[in-house]
Symmetry: C2
Subunit: 395 residues, 2 copies
């Protein structure tokens, strides 16, 4: 695999970021404001200054993989009953231009259009498929997937920072994930990982996240100081449509496992992000506060030292509720773009997953908005600052 | 079993309803308003007249069963491996006074305090336990449970109207539920049923609700013109805490099964209520609208001819969101009282499950509030009007 410095080379896929870099220096924002039709000078109510800082999308998946990568996976699955035919991870060959092209017209284009600086980028969630094959299947596929994320993040370091897939397998201790996690963090510069709370793909056959079964993984994450996003993969259970049911259920289930356990007493510095706005949780915040109380558990405020939600909620009313009931320090900006929902909302004329519009319109202070966009992410992903610095991105 | 007319007898448990009957006639409301400190006459903004009509809680479970009923169930479970020892449904003996006492200090007291007229009342959801034993276990326990609901509803017909448990069993066609459903509706005067979308108790081993597996049940419900509330029972899967995870997941899962299927093309008059405010759905309304669009499914407005949510959402922000994004015609007032959450919210000083307070405070019109409280319920449960009339309750 060849890695070049796209910034020095001035490659095409980095050009859109120059606008972002100008905005970072405050020039872009001023220029944008100057060119917009403003209110008459006589009007006393000033327009809120447009946020001109870093905007980190903490939840992006590589859903636009090069065909060769998907073909590799197909060959691997086809060989599940004949392991000798299974392709080796190193057999995948994808050129740099193809890697750049795979995100240029989608993620990078949308980042530029929406004013998103960069994404914490991980393999396609539905593609992890931990229920397929065995532990070796999962390890090889994780290596391939994570290496491809590394390619993307290395070629376009101002747009993407790596988050890894783990080689989980139903019934197999997550201890077998620690080596790949360590490789991704210490060798590939990744800043976090995705943890599938149900490697069985909708049958929920492994123990809950609070069980000691998971402790080797939590120990390694604490040691490396990387957070995890709790994210299921595809559903192999026909009851659960993936993005509308299985994803939401995984989020909600994980939260209740945290409410009813002492996980964070054992791992006080472990940080776990529940995506998709926390599943059902913020909408039922009163229920969860009341359940914690009835069950003689600590108040949710205690739990929220370790648990965070993202803003992957695709309408204004949902974002408004999230930001009303959940402390701002516990919310990370994200859009899961390009991901679960791709269409244009006819009610707004904008993409459903353009969550920045909802955050912009939310009744929160600029200081809180800055936390959502960047402050919380750099706090919760401590390794992110170094990655940004090495890419020349300054908050 | 002896059934008396408690209203003619003027029994103790019915006395609180006299206040409700006064309120129905408009007297109670006027008296209440007169005794409250009002704004000075000079103030131009009138206080909103307090709603004085019928308030139907469409989601109440018999969570305060007489000990003899629970002892019957224990004997039944103890005899699962020795069916000859299983108690017969007719062997349960509970006196009328005990039935009255079982709800007097809880449900009826809270109905009176909160201004709720009556509840659509079904057996304890967590107690259905369809995963325990076999089809015979489930049938006998359903008969016992439904007969007890009938006792409650017959003794206190102004407070309770019956909704039945079905004798579901994992892997067994729901056709075996139609006889018990018919008995409950035609002989016991029940107006609806609860349908467990996962009789396995958290393993989701049966087909989705849109599968033809379920059609015999839908056919009988259409024939009898009774709606169903989609409600899971206890979780036998340690991943899912019941009231905070399994319940929410069941709701969310069912909705997505409806989005992705043609169930209501085959059953255009079938009406299904998704409780707990629709699980995660209203909070993610944009996601569901977007998914329907991406998946080339009809818009949600079409689905909402057949699908309804209740107001079992235990904080103001959640109710506000629900009533903002979901059409009022699709929301039924409910509290699930006495149920999932029993405590007092320290932030408000009131019970979490006193959902009427949230509905009262919501920014909706009085006409919409009347729909939530009674109009929608009498429309969606067509057999309810006759029950109310026979109990002397007039909307």
């Amino acid at each position: 695999m060849t890695i070049t410095d796209p910034i020095a080379a001035g490659c095409e896929c980095c050009r859109p970021r120059r606008g972002f870099l100008r905005a970072l220096a405050g020039l872009g924002a001023a220029a944008t404001l100057a060119s917009r039709p403003g209110p008459a000078m006589a009007q006393a109510v000033p327009e809120r200054p447009r946020y001109s800082g870093l905007v980190i999308d903490c939840h992006g998946h590589y859903t636009t993989e090069p065909p060769a990568m998907l073909a590799w996976r197909k060959r691997q699955i086809d060989a599940i009953n004949d392991p000798a035919q299974s392709p080796s991870p190193s057999s995948l060959k994808v050129g740099d231009d193809e890697v750049r092209a795979s995100v240029a017209d989608r993620q990078i284009k949308l980042q530029t259009e929406r004013g998103i600086s960069l994404a914490l980028f991980s393999p396609r969630a539905g593609g992890m498929g931990h229920h397929i094959g065995n532990a070796r299947t999962s390890l090889d596929w994780s290596i391939v997937s994570n290496d491809m994320i590394h390619r993307v993040a290395t070629l376009m370091p101002r747009n993407f920072v790596g988050v890894c897939q783990l080689p989980q397998t139903p019934g197999v201790s997550p201890k077998n994930c620690t080596a790949e996690l360590e490789r991704c963090v210490t060798e590939l510069g990744f800043v976090g990982c995705n943890v599938n709370p149900d490697p069985s793909g909708g049958f929920w056959t492994d123990p809950p996240l609070s069980d000691r079964f998971w402790y080797p993984l939590w120990e390694k994450m604490v040691e490396l100081d990387v957070p995890g996003m709790i994210h299921v993969s595809a559903s192999a259970n026909r009851n659960f449509q993936a993005t509308g049911a299985h994803y939401m259920n995984g989020d909600t289930t994980a939260f209740m496992q945290f409410v009813t356990s002492d996980l964070f007493k054992d791992f006080p510095t472990l940080r776990l992000i529940i995506p998709h706005g926390g599943g059902a949780v913020p909408y039922h915040w009163g229920r969860y506060r009341g359940l914690a109380q009835d069950l003689k558990r600590p108040p949710l405020s205690e739990l929220m030292r370790n648990v965070f939600f993202d803003t992957c909620v695709y309408h204004q009313a949902g974002i408004d509720l999230l930001l009303k009931v959940v402390p701002t320090d516990n919310v990370l900006f994200a859009s899961e773009m390009v991901g679960a929902v791709n269409g244009i909302d006819p009610e707004t004329g904008h993409a459903y997953d353009d969550t920045k519009r909802y955050v912009e319109a939310a009744a929160i202070s600029d200081a809180d908005r800055a936390k959502l966009y960047a402050g919380n992410a750099t706090r919760i992903y401590p390794r992110l600052a170094a990655r940004l610095a090495s890419a020349g991105v300054t908050p």
